[in-house]
Symmetry: C2
Subunit: 214 residues, 2 copies
Amino acid sequence: MRIGILGSGLMGGKLGMIFARAGHDVIFSYARSEQKLKRLAREAKGKARAGTPREAAQDADAVLLAVHWLRFDDVLKQAGDLSGKLVLTCSMPMNEDNTELVVAHTSSGAEELAKRMPKARIVAAFGTVPSEVLFGVYEARRKAHRPSLVYCGDDRRGKNVAAGLIRDVGFDPVDAGPLRIARYTEPFTMLIAQLAYEGKEGPELAYRFERLGK
Amino acid sequence: MRIGILGSGLMGGKLGMIFARAGHDVIFSYARSEQKLKRLAREAKGKARAGTPREAAQDADAVLLAVHWLRFDDVLKQAGDLSGKLVLTCSMPMNEDNTELVVAHTSSGAEELAKRMPKARIVAAFGTVPSEVLFGVYEARRKAHRPSLVYCGDDRRGKNVAAGLIRDVGFDPVDAGPLRIARYTEPFTMLIAQLAYEGKEGPELAYRFERLGK
């Protein structure tokens, strides 16, 4: 698959590298510097390159949106028309100092994004784990008992693609239902962040849903 | 410990039975009928009995609040003064038909409860798993890899007691921080409910937080 990364920061950078190592064509875009994009592409050691947001979005089978909430307008303007595209979002609707959700309860970041791009096929995924755990999960992907990763969305085909990419990264995809469930997965991400960054055991945190007796 | 159950429904009934089996003195109160309270006490097969909310709260080392959000006023009026008491709440701030949170984002059910009873020591616990999984977790308590259970609160001593009770039920207690984190654990409970009741795999769902490489 061709995957465009819009926002090559902690999450986008690492996920893009893993997608490339898993065999996908990746274009990194939208980081603090062109150097960082080139470094990511080099370190990905796969079919990866640096590009503009427009290049990342063009011809992509899936676009990963991994920018700060305050940069949505800017990156989407640069990316151009995303109608019909599968847009995976791991962006959280955070305030400027990343302490609080600015959208919650009656909506979610993912739903707001869908309102803004009604013709894109939005799936919320990858946001619920800290970036620090991603390489570890990928490296452990052949073990039994993979960690879970919830995803949600209203586009059945897009969700199937998302589930495949989640598997590629090393997680067990857990379908949480329609996009409005992001109202719960985004606060869940806040809980995960609290445990990862405020606890004493470090940020390499993952989670697993288990059914008893199974 | 002496544990008073305020609200002996699905959660309170099962948790009370498990507390009794784990060796605690339990008083069941506030169910649809006196018969149900007596049946719970009989089936608990430990030091358990039926009582009024006031009897359940009096002399209790901990009180479990497990009523529907719309019954808080009524049960608290019947229970009498809870100043200084450890109050474990697993109640979710749900609307009448249990489809949506009525408090979220800028507050939580647990925080609203604390405002109402500023002299009680509130710990939010046990709400994040379906009642259907409780007996299974208790029965599997001697196995390695117990499921996690998050709890939060502002009273250090009360949290230690809560952690002990969580262990008694068979979970691995995970301290999620201060009571305001209930703003995230309550929507997390909604996510759990979605996976448990809307999915195809049944409601016996638990979760486990894992640190990679540990």
